[in-house]
Amino acid sequence: MKVDPTLPDRLARTGGFNASACINCGSCTALCPLGMGPFPRQLFRYVLLGAREEVVRHTEEIYSCLLCKMCEDNCPAGVHIAENVRTLRTFLGREELGLATSEV
C-alpha cells in the first residue's frame, strides 16, 4: 500500500475532514442501512493512513452513502461522519473525476 502522508491535511483543507476522534468501534458500520463492509470506519482509516489509492478504489461506496446521518447520530466519539463523506466526494470530484472544471 502506497502512503501519501499529505492526504489527511489536504482533505482537512478541502472541507474540514476530521476523523481523528474515531475510536474504531464499528457502530457506524453496524448501523449503515446500506451495510457496506468498508463503510465508513475502514474508509476513514485509509484517509488517516494516507492510503489514497484505497480511498479512490472505494469511489462507488463513497457516492453510495445516503448522508442519512444514522451513523453520525449514534457515533460515541461525535465524528461528523456525513460531512467527512461529503468532503471525500468534493476531493474525488476535483482530483479524480475532473468535476468543477470547464473540461468535459
Binding site: 457516492y63 446521518k69 468535459v104
Partner: protein, 347 residues
C-alpha cells in the same frame, strides 16, 4: 455492462446548476403553474420558498425510470456524449418530462400549504421566477464550487426582494437555507422556518376530526438535522389523526433510499422496498414529510399501501374547503365538496 457513470452524471448536474440554475431544470409552467389563481403577492419581507422541490419530483421520477433502464446496459456508455450535448440542449426537458397528472398532484400539495398558512393567518409573498432550487443535490454530492456560486445567486435574489424571513416546504430546502447557506455565504441572516413549525406555533383550529390512523415516515433531514419530528405529529393529532409509530421513527428513522436514486437506482429501490415493508406492517396509510421520500417510497409500494404528503391530511383537517382531494387516502374522514380554489388531485 456499465453502471451509471458517476463523473458524467454529476458533471451534468453541475452544468445544469451553473447554466440553468437547477440540477434538473423544469419548464416555467411546471415551476410556477401551481400558483395559478392563488393571487400570491410578489416578494415581501416574509415569503414562501418552495425551492422547486415539489415541482421537480415528477421530472425526477421520469429521469429515475430512464436511468434504472440504463443501469447495467450499453446505454450507460454514452453519458459522456450526453453531457456534451446537455451543455447546449436541456436534456432534462427531453428525458424527464414527468407525468402531468403527477405534476398536478404535487402542485396540489403546494396549494394545500398555501391554504393552511392562510387559514392560520400567516401573511406571506412569493418570488415566482426567483423561487430557485436551493442546490441540495449539489451540496450532497460535494460539488462545493458550483453550490457556492449558486447560493450567491439565490441569496442575491432574496435580498433584492427585501426578504427577511423564509417559510420552507420541504426538508432539503430547509437544511440548505437554514444550515448550509450561513456556512458558505457571508452576511446571510435570513430567518428560516418550515411551514410545519409555523403552523404549530399558530395553532389553527381544525374544521373536522379525520378519525383515521396512519404511520409517519420521518425524513432523515427533518428528524436528525432540523428537529422537525413532533410538529407534524401534533398537527395531525389535533386534526383527529391517530399515529401508530413504526419502530424506526423520529430520530431513528430509516432512509427511503432517495438520495442515491440517480446514481444507484437499483440499490435505492431496494432500500425503499425495505422501508415500505416496515411502514406497511404498522399501517397501510403512510404520511411523508418530504416530496423525495414520497416519490421514492411510492415507486415501490404495493397498491394497498397509500402514501401521501402530510399536507393532504392537514388541509383536509384544517381548511374549510380542502384544495386537494385526499379522500382516497383519508379513510373515515368523511367526504367534502370539491375545492373551489384549488387543483383537484387524485391521491
Amino acid at each position: 455492462m456499465s453502471p451509471i457513470p458517476i463523473r458524467d452524471t454529476l458533471g451534468m448536474l453541475e452544468d445544469n446548476l451553473e447554466r440553468r440554475k437547477s440540477v434538473l431544470p423544469v419548464p416555467r409552467r411546471r415551476a410556477l403553474g401551481w400558483t395559478k389563481g392563488l393571487d400570491l403577492p410578489r416578494g415581501g419581507e416574509r415569503v414562501l420558498y418552495t425551492g422547486q422541490m415539489f415541482q421537480i419530483v415528477p421530472a425526477i421520477n421520469a429521469m429515475t425510470d430512464r436511468l434504472a433502464k440504463m443501469e447495467g446496459s450499453w446505454m450507460a456508455n454514452y453519458f459522456g456524449l450526453a453531457r456534451r450535448l446537455n451543455r447546449w440542449v436541456n436534456l432534462a426537458g427531453v428525458m424527464a418530462r414527468g407525468d402531468p397528472q403527477e405534476a398536478r398532484e404535487y402542485s396540489g400539495f403546494l396549494r394545500n400549504i398555501v391554504s393552511l398558512l392562510r387559514r392560520s393567518g400567516v401573511e406571506f409573498g412569493y418570488l415566482y421566477e426567483d423561487d430557485l432550487y436551493a442546490g441540495a443535490l449539489a451540496h450532497d454530492e460535494g460539488l462545493d464550487d458550483a453550490l457556492r456560486a449558486h447560493a450567491e445567486v439565490v441569496f442575491r435574489n432574496l435580498r433584492s426582494h427585501g426578504v427577511k424571513e423564509v417559510i420552507t416546504v420541504d426538508p432539503h430546502t430547509t437544511e440548505m437555507l437554514r444550515e448550509i447557506y450561513p456556512k458558505v455565504l457571508k452576511g446571510y441572516d435570513l430567518k428560516v422556518r418550515t411551514y410545519l413549525e409555523v403552523l404549530v406555533e399558530r395553532r389553527p383550529a381544525p374544521v373536522q376530526q379525520l378519525g383515521t390512523m396512519v404511520t409517519v415516515h420521518d425524513s432523515c433531514i427533518y428528524a436528525r438535522r432540523e428537529g422537525v419530528i413532533e410538529q407534524p405529529r401534533e398537527l395531525l393529532r389535533r386534526g383527529g389523526v391517530e399515529i401508530r409509530e413504526v419502530e424506526r421513527s423520529g430520530r431513528a428513522t430509516q432512509c427511503c433510499g432517495g438520495p442515491i436514486e440517480m446514481l444507484f437506482p437499483e440499490r435505492s429501490s431496494e432500500l425503499a422496498t425495505q422501508r415500505v415493508g416496515q411502514l406497511s406492517q404498522v399501517s397501510k396509510q403512510v404520511v411523508t414529510l418530504c416530496p423525495l421520500c414520497l416519490a421514492n417510497l411510492r415507486r415501490v409500494a404495493p397498491e394497498d399501501v397509500k402514501i401521501t404528503d402530510v399536507s393532504t391530511y392537514l388541509a383536509k383537517a384544517y381548511c374549510p374547503s380542502s384544495p386537494a382531494s385526499p379522500a382516497a387516502d383519508v379513510s373515515g374522514a368523511g367526504t367534502r365538496a370539491p375545492a373551489d380554489h384549488g387543483t383537484p388531485v387524485e391521491a
